[in-house]
Amino acid sequence: MDKFEDSNKRKVPFKMPEGYFNDLSSRVMDKIEEDEKPAKKSIVPMFKTFMWLAATFVLVFGVGRVIVPLVIDPSQKLQHESATQVVVNDNVSAEDFVDDIDELDLSDEDIIEYLSDQNIDNDFLISEL
């Protein structure tokens, strides 16, 4: 420490921008005024909450739809993929779609049972048979 004992070396080796203190009190007052303004309600926190809820829903729904059936019965994976392949493909023509349905080998009873679950008017169903 000897070389630092020289009193000149005890000077703080920093400087500041010229005129720094000239407007400090005004800048502080501006900051205080800004600080004391009532905070505006931002939609960002609401949006964030919404996004969290949406993400949670997607996650829970995804787990329910994909992972749980696989854990319970792995054979469902095949059924799920077949159904998705038939229904979700955007480029399927009406003819191809009917052919694909035929390949599923559904009986009339299967179709009626499915449609009756869809809350469709019974008279309409019977007239279409």
Binding site: P13, M16, P17, F21, L24, I32
Partner: protein, 181 residues
């Protein structure tokens, strides 16, 4: 004008702002240098000093003369400076950097450093000290402040401050000795 008179002005809403400007004018330079020695860079000091005065504005309404105005503001400035460094540490990659790293970066990057290589070595050695020892060392070594005044600001005993200063000097000497090898 004495602090007590200024505070009386501050108590009156019509002269509050005028009184506050007097306080800023009276103490800005001393508080600036106190903060600057803790955070090292001018830009960080500017932020901390403004925050300090904002806190002073908010706290003055409830100020009691348990401590002098200057002592009270010094405490606020010290806390603000340390909080600033800790916040900066937290914001960087989840707190991966030490405060020491932040201080060394501040030191190297500061365009307002105005010393020679020996003074830079000393500042690097001071940056390695724990917070309390660093503050005590700065107050004693650069400001030559009385231990009794320091004890009031830092709310600790004179004996503890002397011990802190002694440890700080030993550590700095060791750091400097190793850097010369």
């Amino acid at each position: 004008m004495q602090d007590k008179e200024i505070l009386e002005l501050f108590g009156n809403p019509s002269t509050r702002e005028k009184a506050f400007k007097l306080i800023v004018d009276n103490y800005q330079e001393r508080l600036y240098w106190h903060i600057r020695k803790i955070v090292l860079s001018h830009d960080d000091t500017d932020d901390v000093l403004q925050n300090t005065f904002v806190k002073v504005w908010k706290g003055l309404k409830d100020f009691r003369w348990d401590a002098g105005l200057y002592t009270w503001m010094y405490r606020i400035a010290t806390n603000e400076a340390l909080n600033h460094l800790n916040d900066k540490k937290r914001r960087r990659f989840g707190g991966g950097d030490d405060v020491e790293d932040i201080l060394l970066q501040n030191l190297e990057a500061d365009e307002y450093f105005d010393g020679d290589e020996i003074q830079m070595q000393l500042q690097r050695a001071i940056a390695k000290l724990p917070h309390k020892q660093r503050i005590v060392f700065n107050m004693k070594y650069f400001d030559d402040m009385k231990y009794s005044d320091m004890a009031e600001i830092l709310e600790t005993s004179v004996g503890a401050l002397k011990a802190s200063y002694h440890h700080a000097v030993k550590k700095i000497e060791e750091t400097l000795r190793l850097s010369e090898v």
